[in-house]
């Protein structure tokens, strides 16, 4: 449902949107039911001539049921939602599916440096391609990223991937994503990092392996 607003471009986006929908439907359904009951009762027991209002203390069994049954229901729904959240957490954060390729992401005030593995698919070789504010990945490929920062805490946020991960200087944070949709998406810094924080956007392009090979070739033709 969220994908109507933000494109869904990775497997994690699918998992997170599933959780979002689960919460929205569960909570939304009972919200509508509760409001309907409330307004029906208000209408049904509205003021009438010659009918005195009754004082209901809520101590009789059939009165208390109005509280205890929804209460039990809320707990059941909560358990379902927590179970859903744990499943999603496991799929998105706990599991680390084997990598097809790796990229390195280096945040600094106020730019993103991306190290692409190059045609050989391996980091730290001569054909690595480094770019500023321009990340290119292949569709249906599992990437591990190594995220780090040169100065202060930044946060690597890709709304279309439903991915947000802090970059901490002195630490290498490993995470993963698997793009599922071609296109160009926004990357933004999601942690206030100084005067240029708002001016720290970057582009993420999900392309076919052929497009990526052509891009690598054009880079090496330019000599870098």
């Amino acid at each position: 449902m969220l994908s109507w607003l933000v494109p869904q471009a990775s497997t994690s986006a699918r998992d997170i949107d599933w959780l979002f929908t689960l919460i929205l439907v569960t909570v939304g359904f009972w919200f509508v039911v509760a409001q309907a009951a409330l307004f029906t009762l208000i209408f049904r027991f509205r003021r009438r001539p010659d009918v005195a209002a009754a004082y209901i203390s809520g101590e009789r069994k059939e009165e208390k049921r109005w509280i205890s049954r929804p209460h039990a229901l809320v707990i059941v729904c909560d358990i379902v939602l927590i179970a859903g959240a744990l499943l999603t957490w496991k799929a998105v954060k706990q599991d680390l599916p084997p990598a097809d390729e790796r990229v390195r992401i280096i945040a600094q005030q106020w730019a993103w440096v991306f190290v692409h593995p190059g045609p050989d698919g391996k980091l730290d070789t001569d054909d690595d391609v480094r770019t500023v504010n321009d990340l290119r990945v292949k569709i249906d490929t599992t990437y591990h990223f190594e995220l780090t920062s040169r100065d202060v805490v930044h946060s690597f946020s890709v709304p279309a991937f439903r991915l947000k991960q802090d970059a901490v200087p002195g630490r290498i944070v490993t995470g993963w994503f698997r793009p599922t949709r071609l296109g160009t998406y926004d990357i933004q810094c999601a942690e206030i990092c100084g005067i240029g924080h708002a001016l720290m956007p970057a582009r993420l392009t999900v392309e076919t392996p052929a497009e990526q090979a052509a891009w690598y070739a054009s880079r090496s033709a330019q000599g870098g």
């Binding site: 005030q109 106020w110 730019a111 040169r150 005067i195 240029g196 001016l199």
Partner: protein
């Protein structure tokens, strides 16, 4: 203003001068309108530039004196054409484009902050209106005498006094911080500056660092430049 003043005095002077004075005041009004208009927009531009400069001052200092802690050079009093040209380069990705150019990447988004309308021109005009704040020497390893010999190549563009040359688009170097000049010369050498396609002026300067074979030569020529005053 002048026109109004003439009009007021007219009745007392009699009718003979009335027509002449009215014509003169109309002329004067027209003339002042023509003269003051460019002056007014120029002042507007400076006022706008001063507002925009608040952002820049957090690194370059309130008088454009530069700040070593932030690696920000002295920019106060640099000519408007040079400031504009550099801001355009930062915008176009012709400067601050290299993944290793940490300080250039810090400056780049700041140019994006002034890309709207004539903001860029306004802030450049304001920077140019500031008084240059010459830096004292901070690096003491360079040999000024050797530096003077090396500087002979640079004279053609930057001038014997290091004041720069607009026709050749070469900036003033005199008074600039020595740590910044060393840094920039190393960036030209490594291709972190002046190697972007389209940066013709940067490419010219990049070719010139070849006369400075090593870090010592860079330190020497900068030591000499630091002895020049703006």
């Amino acid at each position: 203003m002048v026109g109004v003043w003439l009009e007021r005095r007219n009745p007392a002077r009699g009718s003979r001068w009335g027509g002449v004075n009215r014509a003169a005041s109309a002329l004067l009004l027209a003339a002042t309108a023509v003269w003051t208009k460019p002056a007014a927009t120029c002042a507007d531009l400076l006022a706008r530039g001063r507002e925009l400069y608040v952002l820049c001052s957090s690194c370059h200092g309130d008088r454009g004196q530069g700040d070593r802690q932030r690696s920000a050079p002295a920019i106060g009093g640099l000519p408007q054409w040079y400031v504009e040209a550099q801001l355009h380069k930062f915008l176009a990705g012709e400067r601050g484009y290299h993944p290793d150019d940490v300080t250039g990447l810090q400056m780049r988004p700041m140019a994006q902050a002034v890309h709207r309308g004539d903001d860029l021109q306004a802030v450049a005009a304001y920077v140019a209106s500031l008084r240059p704040q010459p830096w004292p020497r901070t690096q003491h390893s360079g040999d000024t005498t050797r530096g003077q010999t090396l500087y002979a190549t640079c004279i053609a563009c930057h001038g014997a006094d290091g004041k720069g040359n607009e026709a050749l688009k070469a900036p003033r170097l005199a008074g600039q911080a020595d740590w910044y000049l060393i840094d920039q010369l190393k960036k030209f050498r490594s291709g972190q500056r002046g190697a972007a396609p389209g940066d013709a002026m940067g490419a010219q300067m990049r070719a010139m660092v070849n006369v400075l074979p090593d870090d010592n030569a860079i330190a020497d020529v900068v030591a000499y430049i630091s002895s020049l005053r703006p």
